[in-house]
Structure formats: C-alpha cells, structure tokens
Amino acid sequence: MIRILHQIFRTGIVTEPLPAEAEAEIQELGAKLEDAVRRRFRRSLTIRAVDAGSCNGCELEIHAINNPIYNCERFGIHFTASPRFADMLLVTGPVSRNMEIALKRTYNAAPPPKLVVAVGDCGCNGGIFGESYASLGSIDKAIPVDACIHGCPPAPAAILKGILKAIIGISL
C-alpha cells in the first residue's frame, strides 16, 4: 500500500493542457461548450464506442483519451457500456458488411437526441479498405453522421477536439 501511495505522489497530476492550437480552439469554444454540455447533456456527455470494422488502431487512440494525460473526464466525457445511456456514438471502421446490422441496432438503441461521430479515415471515407463486397466504405452509408474526425488514426487530441466540436455543432 505504501508503495502505491508513494507512486501516486511521485507521479502527481499528469493531465496536460491540449496542444497549443487545440487548446486555443477549445478555449474559444469553451463558453459555448459549457453551456451546450450543461443544457443538452446535464454536464456530462456519455459515449458508446462502436467498432464497425476498424483495424483497432482507432480504438487504441480512443483508449488513449481516457489515459491520465488526455483525461477526457475533465470535460465531463465518459464512456458507457450500453447504448441506452449514450448521448453520442463514436464509430470507427469502414462498416464491414458483417457489422452493418449490429451498428444499426446500436444506433436505434441509443435515445435521441444522439450524435454520431465517425472516427478515422476509414470511418469517414473507407480509407484504405474502400468500398467492396465486405465493406460499405463509410459510416454514413449505414447511419446518419454528424461529424468526421480524419486521421489514420487521428491522434488523441484530435479525437477530443472533434468530440467537443460535434457537441457545439448541434447546439448552434
């Protein structure tokens, strides 16, 4: 136990401000954002992540926004196991044919108003997998998409920024 406490004190708080440009943008969006999150989501935004055929690269970076350095919880963002509680679906992958039905079901299970954010190039436009017998070629071919975060994979800061922007997008 003493070791654990030591380590906690030694580590301190490692959460960082986002990279300068992201941070500046967030500052700017800050006021609107707070208002939006408070009004629309009662101070917390609950996300359900859905892998619709990704290579797992985007999942790793979504994981990273939960690490103590990006610490998404400081913005009131957290992840849920059930789409029933979700305000937002964070969807990755080009939508494999074998995931299309499950993705649509997850979408239908989430209560409105709901936001859908496509994460990664292959979710936005099919990326390297493109469109084929096994891949729809983008998330908006299966469900309505509110925002896209490009990158292969997008860096954690870009994902955070994209989520925040998507929230503001609907309240404008």
């Binding site: 070791r3 654990i4 380590q7 906690i8 580590t11 490692v14 992540a49 859905v50 892998d51 619709a52 055929g53 990704s54 290579c55 797992n56 690269g57 985007c58 999942e59 790793l60 970076e61 979504i62 994981h63 990273a64 939960n66 690490n67 103590p68 350095i69 992840f79 196991a81 059930s82 789409p83 992958g93 080009p94 494999s96 044919r97 074998n98 995931m99 499950a102 997850t106 990326g127 390297i128 997998f129 493109g130 469109e131 084929s132 017998y133 096994a134 891949s135 729809l136 292969c152 994979p153 860096a155």
Partner: protein, 525 residues
C-alpha cells in the same frame, strides 16, 4: 546449422511423388508438391515428426491453368516447410487434415467459406468468417468474384453448439462489447457461475483485406499490411515486406534491418505496457491501468517525434525503412529507456506484491502446456504455457542473429503467466533497444525496390508482440499480387481462449480474454 528434418521426411516418405517447387522463396522454406490424394498423408507424416501446423490456405491459380493451389505450412524448431497440391477447377476438393491438426479446423472452414474449396472429411462445415446472410455461392477469393459490388443478404441462421442438461443456461455476448474493443460474439453455456463451454463466433470485422491486396500495387500493399491489425502495424508491414523481398532477392541495407528491429521492439513494449495495465484493470486494480497507460503514452509520443507516427504505420517499406534517426534521436531513446526502466520496475513490484491482484490472476484461465502444443498456439500465449518458441530466435534476421533475445517461458499457463511473460519481454526489449541504438550501423535506409516476376511465391515469419505472424504472397501472370495470405497469431490463438475458459466463472471471462488480447481484425481480415 540448418535443420532439415521435415524436408528429409517428406523426401524419403514420398520419394518421386514429392516435387520441389522452384518458384518458392526463400530457399530456406522449401515447398513440395504432392499428389492431391496424398495431401493428408503428408500431414500425418508431419504430425508424427512432431511438427506444428503453421497455416493452411488456398490460392486461385486458374490464370496459370492449374486450378487451385492448396497449401499447408509446417514448422519444427527453426525449420519451415510447405506442402502443396492442386485441386482442378472441375473438382475443387482436397483431403482435410483436421483430424491430424486441430488448428486446421478453422483454416479449412475459412478456405471453404472464402475460396470455395471443399475439405473432404472435415467434421464441421459451418461457414467461418462468412456469415449466414451471405449468398452461399459467394467465394470472394476466387478470381471470378466481383469484389467491387455489395452482396445481397439472404436468410440463414448460424447453428451454435448446444449443451443440454438441468440448470444449463446460455449467455450470448456481443458482437458489440461493453468496452472500447473490437467486435465478436461469444456464446457461453454455464451452470450457475461456472462456464462449461464457450463458443466463439468471429468474422464481424471482415472487410475483405486479402481480396483488397489483389487490387493494390506491391508498394501500396505494405500500407494495407500495416492496417491488418493496427496494434501490430510494424510487425505486419515488416512481414509483408520480408515475404516480398524473399521473392525479389532484394536485400535491405544493414541499417534498415536494425531500424526495423528497433521499431518492432518499440511496438512490442508499447503494447505490452498497455495490456499489463489493462489486465490489472480487469482485476479491479485501476491504479496500474493509469500508471501503465502513462508509460505507454510516453513511448507513443517519442514514436511520433522520432518516426513521424505514433504507431509507426507506413515506416517499413519493401526494401528498407522510411525513417532515419540522427544522434540526437539516439540520445533521446537512450534516456527514454533509462526513464522507462525505472518507472516500469517500480510498477512491477506493485503488481507483484498485491495480494488481491494475485488472487485474481493466479490459476485463472489456465491453458495447459499440452493443450497449447496440441493447438499449435504461438507467441507469448505459447511461452506462458511451456512452449519455447520465438521467431526472433528460431528464424532470426539481423540484428537478432547478434542481439539474441532471451525468451521467457513459464508453465502455469494462467493469466498471471501471460502477464509475467510480457513483463519479462519488456525487460528484454529495453535491453535490445539499447543495444540497437548503441551499435546502429551506418548505411542507407533502403535498397531499390524490385518488382517481382510472374508466378513466384514468397514467405516470411515475424515475431510480432502477439507472436508469429506469417505472410505468403504470390505474383500473378503480369507480376501483380495474385494472392496475399495473412496469418495473424490470433488465427490460431483464438482456439486457446475457448480451452482456457473451461471451469472458470463467467465474471472472470473479461480478465481471461484480456490476458490473451487477441486481434479480431487480424483474424477476420
């Protein structure tokens, strides 16, 4: 010294019935063609020689006028050998080898599902990866299949294995799981809390990767290989490149080889760090998750800074690498390793001394050594269950012939063993990274790319962080990609989870699953 046990067995057993295929590279991995009706006999001979089935696959070689090629690759210690045969277009069947090798079960179901070649004598012909709503005659890996069009959905139902008896109930889980992970379906049969059977059903993230390769140039192919399983971008793109280089005879410069190993070890370390934290988290010890994810994040940032990408995607190219590091970068890596080692060792003590963690990870999800051997599992999963295998040692490329890794082997096969093997591997990787950086040869970073000539096949294995990755590639009549067979470690290791879970309680499933952390994308392709 090269061992030739398997080769000698095939040659003496089949005599003139086994013809060596001269189009197969590298020379150290020979391919022997045997008559179709004797394909299973070869498997039997390999089994009695104590060989492991590495992979089994098919290729549509109708453009060469010889039907479909059926391939099985075997390994024993450092020796790899391919046995092949042909199925003519009018009779696309071959003798199943499932009765000899359990791993062949899914390989052959997959071959039937995607390539349309029928393994005769196979006990379970339910489709694999191909879901029940695909048109039955859709065989995407056949050349005549038009991959650009969406397929219609038909009605159909997958038949799960049923367990019956008083008090047996079923828990279906997935494909969408609770956490931020890839999709797959698990069907448990349980009595009370105890799991009596687990059946996996995968294929949800099948996005047609192997078919996609066939529409890409060799150079673009490496980008796709890097996205077969995003957590293993380096290992997959390296394996693809090595298979391709084996065909063209291209030798990357010494410096490129060392930089490849540097990236491979960094990928191993970052993934191991993340997973050890995640295992602790699934045993309700969140503290370690946050601590380990902090270390992992720092490594990824260095990757971005020095190599231009957090996962080092697209940094390995056929012929070499697309990165260069200068003296400042070397210094940075050395001081990073110094920092990492200190931080890491502190956390290891905490992991090791925590009784409640120990209680959860010991004797949980045991994969017995004999089962591991029987299934032919690979990588840290195999090493945690008594199997001393590591391609970096058995099939080394420079610098692993000089900086020889020590592969830790444990026998308990439980969650703890799988975590502990990875702890030891991080220590080794730190040592290897230091040695590479300190002795990095001066040279170019890439040799010129050479385009393959028609009808050649190449093979390579690379020890990614999960274990042995295998690529077999074949050039077509115009020298294009005719076939790119990918075998992720997960393709065999998924079988191990089903076995390891027997007798465990349902709430321990996430912990067990995490300790294997297999790839869905690498398996489903």
């Amino acid at each position: 010294m090269e061992k030739n046990d398997l080769r000698n067995i095939i040659v003496s057993y089949f005599d003139t019935d086994a013809i060596q295929d001269n189009n197969q590279s590298p020379a150290s991995v020979p391919a022997y063609r045997v008559p179709r009706e004797r394909f299973a006999e070869a498997a039997k001979a390999m089994k009695s020689a104590d060989a492991r089935l590495v992979a089994e696959w098919a290729a549509d070689e109708s453009a060469f006028g010889r039907g479909f090629g059926i391939y099985a690759c075997y390994n024993k210690e450092s020796e790899y050998l391919i046995v092949k045969t042909y199925a003519p277009l009018e009779d696309l069947t071959f003798p199943s080898i499932t009765k000899k090798f359990i791993a062949a079960n899914r390989f052959e179901r997959q071959m039937k599902s995607l390539m349309g070649v029928m393994p005769t004598g196979h006990p379970d012909l339910r489709p694999w990866i191909k879901h029940e709503d695909w048109p039955e005659d859709a065989y995407p890996l056949q050349k005549s299949f038009d991959a650009s069009k969406p397929m219609t959905r038909i009605k159909g139902e997958y038949q799960f294995i049923k367990a019956e008896g008083e008090g047996v109930y079923e828990i279906p889980v997935g494909p969408v799981h609770a956490g931020i992970i890839e999709p797959g379906h698990f069907r448990f049969q349980a009595v009370g809390e105890d799991i009596i059977n687990l059946e996996e059903r995968l294929g949800y993230v099948h996005k047609g990767i192997e078919k996609r390769f066939e529409s890409l140039s060799w150079i673009d192919g490496v980008k796709l290989a890097g996205r077969v399983s995003g957590d293993s971008a380096v290992a997959h793109s390296l394996c693809y490149s090595r298979a391709l280089e084996s065909i063209t005879g291209c030798n990357p410069p010494e410096r490129a080889l060392w930089l490849r190993a540097l990236m491979l070890e960094r990928e191993r370390t970052a993934n191991h760090l993340g997973d050890i934290g995640a295992i602790a988290n699934d045993a309700a010890f969140t503290f370690l998750l946050y601590q380990f994810s902090r270390l992992r994040e720092m490594l990824l940032r260095t990757n971005l800074k020095l190599f231009g990408h957090r996962f080092m995607m697209d940094r390995i190219i056929p012929g070499g690498v697309a990165v260069g590091i200068n003296n400042d970068a070397k210094k940075e890596i050395i001081s990073e390793m110094h920092w990492l080692e200190k931080e890491f060792e502190r956390l290891v003590v905490i992991y090791d001394e925590n009784p409640s963690l120990e209680d959860r990870v010991r004797d949980t999800g045991v994969l017995k050594p004999e089962t591991a051997k029987e299934l032919g599992v690979v990588g840290f999963t195999a090493r945690a269950s008594g199997q001393a295998m590591d391609c970096r040692i058995q099939s080394p490329f420079p610098p692993y012939d000089r900086i020889i890794p020590k592969a830790p082997v444990l026998n308990s096969g439980d969650v703890h063993a799988r975590a502990w093997v990875r702890i030891e591997e991080i220590r080794e990787s730190i040592r290897i990274i230091r040695e590479i950086v300190n002795n990095l040869p001066e040279d170019k970073t890439a040799s010129d790319f050479i385009v393959p000539t028609p009808d050649k096949s190449g093979f390579a294995v690379v020890e990614g962080w999960r274990g042995e990755i295998v690529y077999w590639i074949q050039s077509g009549i115009k020298g294009e990609i005719n076939r790119c067979m990918v075998r992720d470690p997960s393709s065999v290791n998924w079988l191990a989870l089903e076995q390891a879970i027997h007798g465990n309680i349902v709430p321990d499933f996430p912990l067990c699953n995490k300790s294997f952390n297999q790839s869905y994308s690498g398996h489903d392709l």
